[in-house]
Every structure is written in structure tokens, then in C-alpha cells.
Symmetry: C2
Subunit: 684 residues, 2 copies
Amino acid sequence: MSIKGFLLSVALLFGSSVLLWAQKTDKENQALMPYPQEITEGTGKFRLNKDFSIYVNAEAHPRLFQAATRFMRRLDSRTGLFFTQHMVTPQSKGQANFSIQAAENAAVKLGMDESYELTVSKDAIQLKAPTDIGALRGLETLLQLVQSDGEGYYFPEMEITDSPRFPWRGLMIDVSRHFQPMDVIKRNIDGMAMVKLNVLHLHLVDDHGFRVESKVFPELTAKASDGEFFTQDEIREIIQYANDRGIRVMPEFDVPGHASSFLVAFPALGSAPGPYSLQRHAGIFDPTLDPTNEDTYTMLDKLFTEMAALFPDEYFHIGGDENEGHHWDANEEIQQFMKEKGLKSNHELQSYFNRKLLTVLQREGKKMMGWDEILQPSLPTSALIHSWRGQEGLAEAAKAGHKAILSNGYYIDLMYPAAQHYLNDPIPASSTLSDKEKKNILGGEATMWTELVTPLTIDSRIWPRTAVVAERLWSSAEVQDVEDMYVRLNGISLKLEREGLTHIRNRDVILRNLVNGRDISSLKVLADVCEPMKGYTRNPEGTLYATYSPYTLFADACIADAPDALVFNQMVEKYLTTKGESSEQIEAYLHQWHQNHERLLPVIKANPVLLEVKDLSLNLSRISMAALDALSGKVDKMSEREKVKWYNNAVAILKESRQQGGRTELQVVNSIEKIIKNKRQYLE
Amino acid sequence: MSIKGFLLSVALLFGSSVLLWAQKTDKENQALMPYPQEITEGTGKFRLNKDFSIYVNAEAHPRLFQAATRFMRRLDSRTGLFFTQHMVTPQSKGQANFSIQAAENAAVKLGMDESYELTVSKDAIQLKAPTDIGALRGLETLLQLVQSDGEGYYFPEMEITDSPRFPWRGLMIDVSRHFQPMDVIKRNIDGMAMVKLNVLHLHLVDDHGFRVESKVFPELTAKASDGEFFTQDEIREIIQYANDRGIRVMPEFDVPGHASSFLVAFPALGSAPGPYSLQRHAGIFDPTLDPTNEDTYTMLDKLFTEMAALFPDEYFHIGGDENEGHHWDANEEIQQFMKEKGLKSNHELQSYFNRKLLTVLQREGKKMMGWDEILQPSLPTSALIHSWRGQEGLAEAAKAGHKAILSNGYYIDLMYPAAQHYLNDPIPASSTLSDKEKKNILGGEATMWTELVTPLTIDSRIWPRTAVVAERLWSSAEVQDVEDMYVRLNGISLKLEREGLTHIRNRDVILRNLVNGRDISSLKVLADVCEPMKGYTRNPEGTLYATYSPYTLFADACIADAPDALVFNQMVEKYLTTKGESSEQIEAYLHQWHQNHERLLPVIKANPVLLEVKDLSLNLSRISMAALDALSGKVDKMSEREKVKWYNNAVAILKESRQQGGRTELQVVNSIEKIIKNKRQYLE
């Protein structure tokens, strides 16, 4: 065994993920994401030393001076050069070697100009943008470019011309199902800024809690938030924080369904007699506002008027999704009302409701936005459609003349791989929309629903995958090399952690909790090949977990794109499709997994909370052994009878290894099955 | 080599700290800290399952219901049992198997009754306390007691009778030098509650910034905070959060020295003409309020009146330290004033100043508190003395009839070992105070000065060492076994992380940043034997670092009590003093360190920010090799001439290895020197 081979196998034995991250490339270091529109690379290097200094044209918006100061501190944290310049202010002198020029100061709103030009030469850096917001985007690009060599840190010579493909690039955070406090919101705004997202959509109200203070109706949070909500001062702080980073904040008040929290505070506005209580499980619930009760509109008018003033953004999201109408169907007065008004379906009744709200919002200078369900022929085209149900709904809205954005395919809470979100395009190559209709599609939003996450784990569900959604929405449609994306994603993931996101660090926290100690290595080997059950399967019927269940268990330490599985599956694919490929690295992984069960078993025994993954670990060990038998040639030397027996046994344990454990699933079973079924001639 | 030996050496090769944490004992698991006054252990087990439920007597304070609910969720996070009880409320039924009875509801203030009695039997748990605060303390003890065996989780049968030795057990956080935002404060309050500390002392004002909103004088934060301060709403939120956990919040407004931030906003109140600016480095600065200017008192009267209302605690800290009087000496008018008033020294002038403030504070119903320097014969005994200068000052104050607390010896920012703080007793066995005088000594405070920390690193300076200060102040004076303390400290450290403290996780974040990747193993091997330079040596003259310097470098990832050094030094001590002790484990460490340099070198080369620790790593490798030569007997086989040469060389590299690198120092040099000097006969 070569030294390299030895190191590899020992690394595999002890440091899960070591292999993946050891294969660090320049591309990962550079980690430009989202990838700019145009790059011209040079050969020179702008070298960094403590005299590095920044100048911003004095007329620029204060937010640009603050961002430039933050840029300097962030770069200093990375390089340890102890830059002498403290703050970048309008008084900072013009002879600085990094010059930032923003021609105009922009309002943070839909359609703001976010383009910029960045020129790095040996002696100077220039960032020019039509607006200060464009300059903010350019600063993030530059920070991603820092490199090092034997002489120190530098920026590589290059010219970048960049601008976004779509103007609406959002992240929705559901703060109702599990409340997410200020620090979560702020650090995620930082992450959004790093990948050039520009809309934070706060899903503030749902069946699980009303999460924003109303001074007009204080009972909303007093009765229906369990004490967890944003004060209006905090909302203002969030908006300012986001605005400083060129990010809009759009509120959503989901009506008429998803209304349990509304109705806990105002049961008389419900479509059923009540009483109502906050939901503690996941699902679609019946409590619905009564659209035939004038008091409903009186209340919503006052509330929306108050909230329209609190949230300065032009758009106001009224939700409108998943109203199954059970309470409407069961209410005779509502049925009578529909007859009188000639409303033929619940859908038409909801349209009636929406039009009343539209009047309020228009009076307050807002544009209405809602999920697919609000789309109706009678809906004015000024309303923006937010598509959660699919590309078809998006296209339908665009054809009907509505502006529209996509979230279907960007449900990051469902734990699908980054690649899947990455290849989901708001305007796919196959689109049959006209050019004019295509212009109605403004972008999309990653949606972070929070049934199964807490502040401890939410970052690991949002990041790094949201970065690939950000790239899909910013970069050219042609940028779609998945392998390349994953390499850069590793780099951006580390950069996100550096700026405060907790997606990497908190995994180890959970693992340390589970092993009740510090040596998490054997548990991490398992966690690095397991992923939480996907889609809605982790929480069957929505009832396995309550909002107050523990989210500190094995599944919560597992992430989408389990890192070792990702690498292993790529290796196996290559091995099986390319002749002459060595199986050495594959075998090293298999040895590690085979042996890991023996290391993990005493840890499981000492920690009953881990019993749920015992079979998972055993199965991983067993299928790894079977695959080793196949790869090592051991099987080839067996008698025919033994071969058949081996094969049948392997197929049986493969089946067992598809069982979930701790609400997670092994992600290497398909690849191992391919290795084993390569030997299926033994059966024939 | 035995399997065990092999595993050990491989573990040492790859997982720094593995050894330390692998030696987990029941005591560490149990990790009671602070140790209760009386424990009677039984043999039964109260087994936990999902039906575990809590009852609190209905008249108890809401904070006890909230704490009981949090207790349930924290225990569920640890055990993963999915307890069915959601909230503990006055409506919760009495047949619960854990019953909490608080006889009275207490105000959170000095002298509140914090005692409790906890009885765990096989079938039931009872927590009884004279006050709800005592019950809060008992809940923390119970949570530390959870254990597991093959059948699951349980609480061991026992009776605990507990109460604190001292009524004042504090943590001071300096939020002026580096501002610490809400999330830092809140999670540290959680940590304080876990180890039964009961005073959060906020050092709100210093030369680097004024950190609390004044509505009367908004210019204080507008001009002198760089935008980093607590709003009054936030202060109220902190106070409520602390109060919910039985913790007082005491503000400090440091006057008349440390006044740069005061004087940036109000230069006319200074003892020198100004202009003034916020300090960006560490040190003792001259800006001082003018005690001869009536406007000074008018301003402080209004400010203190406002702040006395904002902070409900009985005590109000006016600082008073480190006024060197340079600006008083240089000001002729002040000199003239002193002559007129018959004030013979700056100390007397400051006493004059203090007495004027005392009038204000007394009017507002507050007791004055200040650092040693305020002690003067003319000071009324109602003023509490906070001793930072030493045990003598503390004793002097107590003899003069003042209540007093100790912080000298509890300066956790100085990076001394936990043992040193642990053995520092406010009333040492050698004390010559009378019993009555001893009663004047109320306790102490760990002090977290923030010249060199940011929100990223502050937890790793506060924790886990503050837990040993908490034990010193709560537990019996006889509890002072250092080895036992370190074992329990490992356990409590993990428990603190579980509740949100970032002292463990953020070390890895910094290391990942430094290596620009995920495989931090070789750098961590080095970091686990290095400690930041102690006392005030890391930041010579206070000028090496500015407030805006990077605090994301190697020293910031290092901690006091470097974990591998702690274990290694214990091993060497035992080896050298106990005959027949094996050197196998010592050699395993030395091999690891010797080989680590080769692993770390390419990482350093790829990351210029690590160049500062290259020599440190090389020196560790070299002295480890020399020690291995000594232990392995290789030296014994040398010629006499070679032996002398070896010895002289070893002494020379030992000397080099005492050089700092990256503002840290190797912590195994003394032990390795002992191993080598064991061979000093070669020189004789």
C-alpha cells in the first residue's frame, strides 16, 4: 500500500469527510457562487498587506460605507493582516488602492439595478456600479476571490461584469411553526447577502402562532404566540439590517386558511363555532376565517393597514393556500351567502374574499401577492402569483398576464439534494412561453418551512443548498454543471460558516450531545452517509412530531447531500462506467463502514438515545462487507453454490438496509447494490 | 503492542483530545457542579419514559412554571423520549411523578433564599424549597443528575439538601470594550443559571463605548457607541430573562475615570480641554470627568435617575477604578478647587465626587457599589466594595464595616487555569477576620473584560472556567479537590454547550477558517497544547491589538487549560513521581506531536495566516523527539560525548520552545523539560 493509500485508509478510518474536503481544488477555494455573467481572467496578483485601504465616493449611501467597513473586517478576519484602516467613511482619502464608485443611491425594491463591474489589476481594484446596491453585490464577489500563495494573500487579476438574470431572488422563512428569533434571522440575512439573494419573505402567521406584534390587536400575540413573536421594533430592526445589505423584507399574513392563530385570538371571526387552539402538529387544518362576516374585513382592514405601514416593501403576501373549505362546507350561513351572491364554489368564495382584501392593500399602496390558489380570472393582473404547486401554475399565471415567481422545486425543508434544486429553472429550456410571457416570471424563492427545525438546526437546512437556488436565479441559465456546482458549494459553505451561519458547527453539537462526550468520530461516520427522510415521510401524518418534540436527535444532525455518500456515489458511478478505474478508494470507504459498527456499538450502548440507529449501523456494516467481498474477488473464488448463497444473502441485507433508522436513511445503498448486482451472473 | 495500545496511539495520531474525553468517568457524567452541601445516595433508580410529568404547586410564581417547562424540554432534548406533557401550568394535574413545591414566591434580590431539598426515589421525585428561586436551583441540580444504563435513562435515588455558601455569586461582562449583543448575553445567562450564579453585572460604560440607550441624553450612544448599544427595551428584556432564572442584573457606570465615551458626547464635562475620542486600544486612559464642575453632577444626577429606574436592582455600581488623576493634576482650576475645599489628594477629590453621587443614589433608593478605590474613611458603610486589587482590600473593607465582594483572582479574561481560580477563596482558611467581619464578605464575581474577545470567542473565555468560580462561591469551602474538579468540569462543559454556549463549537469554526477547509486535525493537535499568553502579555502596552483587529486567529482558537496539555502534564507528573508507571501513553502523545509538524506544514504553507505558528509546531516536534530519545532509552545507549551533545541540544531547543507563536505558548514544555532533565546526570 502506498503512503497515499495508507493515509487515505487511515483518514477514512478516523476522520469522516476527510476525503471529501481533502480533495480541495482551486475552484473550491475560489468558490464563486453565484457565478458571474462575464469573467476575463488575467495573470497578475493584487497583493494584500496591512496598508490595504478602501475609498468610496463621498456621495454614496451610508449603507455602502458600512458594507465597505464590514468588507475590510471580514477580509482581515480571513487573512489576519491587521489592516490599519478602521472605518471607511466619506472622509477616507482617495488614494486608497481599492476604489468603489456608485453612481446613484438606490431604493431597495423590486427591479433595483444590481449590476456592477469589478476590475482587479496588480496595483489597484476598482468596483463601479450604477447603484450602491450593485456595489454591495460586487463586494461579495470580491470577497469570494481572495487567494493565497507562498508569498501571502492576493486577489487574482480579472475583470468581472455582472448582473442578475432574475430580479426576485428570495428566501422564505416560516417563523410560525417554530419561531426563529432575531439572531437566526440576522445571520441568515448575512448569508443571503453573500449569495446575492434580495428578498427575505417572512411567513409570519400560521396555525402554530401569530409572530408579529400588533399594537391595534395586541391579543393576537398575547393569546396566540406562546410568547414567541417579533416586536414592531424588532421588525424595524430586521428591515433596517436587510436594507443595509440591499435586501427587501416582505411579510406574509396567510388568510383565510392557516388561521388557527387568528382564531385563537378572535374566535368570532371563524367559519366554525370553535373553540380554537394553536396547532402542535404538522398538517393542513380546517380553521378558516369567515368570509361572509363583515367583522372579518373590519379586523383585517385595520391589521393590514397597520402592517402595511410597518413593512415598507411594495408587496404584501396574503397567502391564500391550502384552504380545503371544510368549515365553509359545514356552515349553513356561509352556504346561504354563496347562493345569494352566486358564488359557485369555495374557490369563488375565496376570490370574493381576496378582492375585498385587494381594495385594502391598493388603498395602502401595496401590490397583493399570494400562492397559486389566488389565481382566478377575476383577479387583477397587478397581483403577483407565488407558485408552490408547480411549473404549470407559474406558466399559467404568466400567460394570464400576472407577474409570478417560483417556489415549487425550491422547498429546501424537504431535504432533497442540491442538484435537484439547482436544475429547477423558473424558465426551463423546454418552456413554451412567449418572450413577453417569460418577462412575467420574476424569479423565485427558496422556502424554509419549519415543522421540523429549531434555531439549532435551521441553518443546516437552509445552507449551503440555498446558495444553488441563488445561483440559479442570478447566473446565466447555461451555468448548470452539477459536478462543478458541488465543488464550489463546498467552498461557499465554509465561507458561510465564517460569517456566522451555524450549519456546520451545530451538527457536531448535536452529535456531542448524543454521545454525551467529545469523541463523535464513529457516530459521525454514520451520520455522514445518512440523510433525514425526504419529502413528508419523516413525519408521517404530521403527528409523529409535535412542535415541542426534541429536535436534537440523530436525524437532526444529518443533512441533505450526506457528504461521504455524495463522494462515494460519484466514485462508484465512475468505477462502474469507466474501464480500468481503481477500486482502492471505494474499498477504503467500505472498510471504514464495515469496521465502524464495532466502534459505534459501545457508544450506542452507553447512550440509549442512539438505540434507534443501531440497525442502521449494523446494516451499513453488513452491506459494506458484502460489497468488499464482491470487489476483492473473494466471491469469484467461491463455489457456485456459495456464490448463489452469497448473492441471495446480499440481496436480503440490501433490502433490510433500506429501512429507516432514527428517521434517516442510508444513502449508499444504491451504489453498493450496483457493486453487488454486478455479480448477478452468479444467479443466472 | 496491545489492541488498546494501538487504538490509543492511532487515536492520538488523529483525534486530538480523544484520549482526554475517552477517559470518561461516572463522575464526569454526573458532573454535579457546584457540588451540593449534602448528598445521601441510594441505590434505586427513577426511570424516565415518555409519561414523565411535572406538577408545580399552583400558587408558585410564573417563572417556576416556565422553568419547569424548560426543564422538561431540556431533559427531552437529552434523552429523546418525546415526553407527552407539553407545558407545565397551574392546571397541570397533581398526580405527576415529579412534584415541585415552592412555599413562597421570592423577589430576585440580594439575600433571597436559594435553598432546596431534592428527593429522588424509585417512583417519584420531590423538590421542595422555601422559595421559587430555591426550586429553580434544585431543577438545575436534578438535570445534572440524569444517567443511563442498558435499560434507559434514569435519575439515581438520592437526597440532596443544598444552599449557597455566599449570597453574591456573579459574572461581570464588559460590553464596552467589545460590545456583546443580546444573544451573547442571553446564552450566558442560561449558563449562569446552570451553575447557580445569581448576579449578572453589566459593565456598560468605558473608554471604548457607551452601551446603553439614555432617552434623557441620546447623544451618549449617538456619538459614543459606534452604533453598538442596548436599547432600553433590550435592557428590560435582559432583566426579565435573568429574573426568570433567578438572576439579578446590576449595571455599572464607571466614573469619574474610564470616561472617554462620556466625554465624546459631553466634552465640556472633562477635566481637560479635549477633544475626546473613543479609545481603540487597551490601557488606562486619562479622560476623566471634572468633579469641580456642577454641570457634571447635574448630568450624572439625571442620567443616574433614569438608569436607576431602568435597572430595578438594589445595587448601582459606579466603578471608580483606575483614575490616575493626570488631567486633574494638569488642571489649574481643579487644583485651586482642591485647595479651597481642603482636599489634600486626588483620592480625597474622588471621595468628594463619590459622596455627591451617593446622595443621588440614596435618593433613588439605591445602594452604591464601587471598586476598591472608592474605599475611604468618609465613605458610609452602606457602600459595597468590589475588590479587584486583592484579598487585602477585601479584608480591609470588611473590617471597616463595608459589605464586600471579591473579583481579584477571578479575572477569567487573563487565561489562567481553572485550578487557580478554584482555589481562590473570598475567605481563605488563613483569614484573620472575625466572624462578624467575615459576614461582610458576600461573595464574588468572575470578571470578563473584553479587550481581546468578540461574540465569536467570549464564551470560550467565560466557560467552562466560570463554573469553578460558581462552585467556589456556592459549595462548602472544603470542596477543593482539583483533580476531581477537572473531571466534573469536563462534564459540565458539555452540558453548557448543550444549552447553547458556543465555547466548544466556535473553536472548530476558527480552525476551519484558518485552514480554509474542514480537516482541522493537525492544527487542532497543536491548538490543544497551546494557550493564549497569560495576564496582560498577549497585548503588550495594549497596542498590538485594536478593537477592530481580527480576533479569528490561532490564539483565539486556543483556550486556558489546553486539554491535551492538561492530561499530558498529569501523566508526566505521575510517571516521574510513581515508580513503575508505564510511559506508553506519554510516548504516544510525544509521537503524535513529533509527527504532527510534517502533517501541519503543508497546511501552514497553503494558509499564510498560519505562518505565525510554524516555529511553535516545529519546536513541539523537536522537544517531543528529544523526550522520546530520553524515554525510549536511546540516549542511554549513546557514547558519553554524544550524551552531552544530546543534552545540550535538548536544553537549547527547550529554550526556543518557550518562545511565543501567534500570541500563544506551548504548555507541555515544563513536563518535557522534566523528562529530559531526568537525564541530567549526562552532564555531570
